[in-house]
Symmetry: C2
Subunit: 395 residues, 2 copies
């Protein structure tokens, strides 16, 4: 008879709080250090995992370096995945997470794809809530209503065997930091820079994701290889790459965000379109993407209930020639890129094959309407069950 | 007038040798710890780089963990690349590297692709030689002729900004470890396991590399995402995945190695074929791959000079139906996978679409002939300018 020892599941209730010896000062919201994107809070949660024992007790520890052997699986074979979330200080002074289970479930899906260990998404969420509760009173104080902290759950393969194999050791690490405006939602309705984004389409020699690949997972290997094209776009004065796929040059993502276009059909109807999450798995299923789709669908469904002109919502392929034709015919009312860190950013120009395609900004009031509505939900002005209140620890 | 400060280049002559306090014991060649692929030598070389200052002085330090912020570019965005090389203890007791500049140049190419800093490949090679010279006297002693140490130069983005950007800090790290047989060349002519490898073709839903991607670079992001399919193959009793691409199911790589097939044309001629390094960039340009091509071309060119039946050498696409047809007609004389770590391993079976395709092993003497010839070069039995002698430090 074989006796199999049960390995331990991820269990947030086992969290051990370690002492914090050297707390850091909180920067003012306009502190220039924030833009370096290194300003984390005092503490992080780490949890070790081994194939033999499962998940160890989570620990709340001072934020600091991880110690990894040069042979570590994450450093050699990119066994790593992460999530991006925000903790909002609402106008009522309370802390809120926005659809956080969506991100925790996606983290599990990314971990599975990159051969990192499984866990119960709700336990991850409990750990995130604990970290928020402990860190927010100091780092997102009650008088900073309307602002947010960025949360980055990360998992890496720490197995120090150089062999090419599924890691037998891993570490989960959850930390928080300031994210500079425009995405820091001091006032989300004002968080879009005055000019819109300028996007440069990817060259045919640079493909971000592909059928059978990993475009739908939030893993490190989707990002590093795109820096080369990103840097070329930056050097030419663009903000992000608009990633295309296939001979028909269809749009997948804009930078690390999801892309939307608002246009009129030839029949004159208003339509919001975003590329679909089809079987090819080219596109990350963004939390903000899903939310925008749902808000447009519920807000502008029919002329009877819609506060603005009704708008159809479609998930379907968009090619660059679709966009060029529609712009030529004056049918495009706006385009925007959305993501947790990036928020909702309008696009004013797309560079493509040596041509500059100008996109109208805010020609229809729908985008501003949805942005305000979503900010109102995130900041607690409107009741909505997408939002979860975080009860904070006494400071 | 703008004064631009020149940043420092990688300079092996600046190597600083730090003290080694706790040397480790050398395992015996049959020590079971070697198979865990964690048995490194006492020391490694590390070099820090910043965008502002360039490369710092290289340091020979005790082998140990790297300290990386959880935000580090390599852990979040997989800005990382590596190389695999071997140091041989020849039958004459001298140390040899095999075409090492090839790997150093490929490391530069991989670093460029993943937006890590540039360097002079020859300086990397000088550092590798220094590490070998310092470590081999103890770890690859003179009486272990015919054996080898595996060398893993690694570069990671250490920039602790969470922003998505080209890393402004990086670290180069060169370390060595034992690699177990069959790839440890105790006697390379004997290093193939008695049975051949069993390969399972990748499913259409799992694609390792793609046109416009990174298949031709040795970066972490090419490896982690393939573990999922690799593990499925292992669970079914196969050794490696045979990675296919495209609707015609053409072969790209076998695991992390290059694939060769030896067969007869319908006209009866002997032909060695491997997939080409074409513009699509699906395949890593292996050092051993290149060497096998050159050895076959020079050894079996014409009936006048060839010691065995002459053999044509082709780099062209090979589809699974090519292989199935040729096997059905009895034209396949052998197939093998090659790489620095894997050496030359014959294939005895390919699982594909539920069918088991049996491949002859060693039906032509050419593979064994080339394996012996190459081992003779690596171990110094034959003079060859592919090999570089490493003069070692006094122990």
């Amino acid at each position: 008879m074989t006796v199999t020892k049960a390995v331990s599941s991820l269990d947030a209730s086992k969290l051990e709080v370690l002492p914090l010896d050297s707390p850091k000062p909180v920067p003012t919201p306009d502190d220039s250090s924030i833009s370096a994107l290194k300003t984390t809070t005092d503490r992080m949660i780490t949890v070790s995992w081994t194939a033999a024992e499962g998940w160890a007790s989570p620990q709340l520890v001072p934020y600091g370096p991880l110690s990894l052997m040069p042979t570590a699986s994450a450093l050699q074979y990119a066994t790593e995945c992460f999530e991006g979330m925000k903790l909002f200080r609402g106008h009522d002074g309370r802390l809120r997470l926005f659809r956080p289970l969506y991100n925790c479930q996606r983290m599990l899906s990314s971990a599975s794809r990159i051969s990192l260990p499984q866990f119960e998404p709700d336990e991850l969420l409990k750990l995130i809530r604990r970290l928020c509760a402990m860190e927010a009173p100091k780092w997102l104080p009650r008088d900073r209503t309307g602002s947010a902290l960025y949360i980055r759950p990360t998992m890496v393969g720490t197995d120090s065997s150089l062999g090419f194999k599924v890691p037998e050791e891993a570490q989960l690490c959850i930390f928080m930091l300031y994210w500079p405006s425009p995405s820091m939602v001091t006032d989300p309705t004002q968080s879009v820079s005055r000019r819109g984004m300028r996007l440069l389409t990817s060259s045919e020699a640079a493909v971000r994701s592909w059928p059978g690949g990993t475009g739908l997972a939030k893993i490190g290997g989707n990002y590093g290889p795109t820096l080369f094209e990103h840097n070329k776009a930056k050097a030419r004065g663009y903000d992000q790459v608009l990633w295309l796929y296939g001979p028909d040059r269809r749009i997948t993502e804009a930078g690390s965000t999801n892309f939307f276009i608002l246009w009129r059909t030839p029949a004159g109807e208003l339509e919001l379109t975003t590329p679909p999450l089809d079987n090819e798995g080219l596109i990350l299923a963004g939390n903000t993407r899903q939310t925008i789709l749902e808000l447009f669908r519920t807000s502008f469904a029919s002329s009877a209930s819609s506060p603005l002109e009704p708008c159809n919502v479609l998930e379907r392929r968009i090619t660059m020639s679709d966009i060029e034709c529609a712009v030529g015919e004056g049918l495009v009312l706006g385009a925007f890129a959305v993501g947790t860190a990036a928020w909702i950013q309008e696009v004013e120009e797309i560079g493509h094959d040596g041509r500059e395609i100008r996109i109208n900004i805010s020609k229809a009031p729908h985008v501003a309407y949805i942005r305000e509505k979503l900010a109102g939900i995130m900041l607690g002005d409107v009741e909505n069950d997408w939002v979860e209140i975080v009860e904070e620890a006494a400071i």
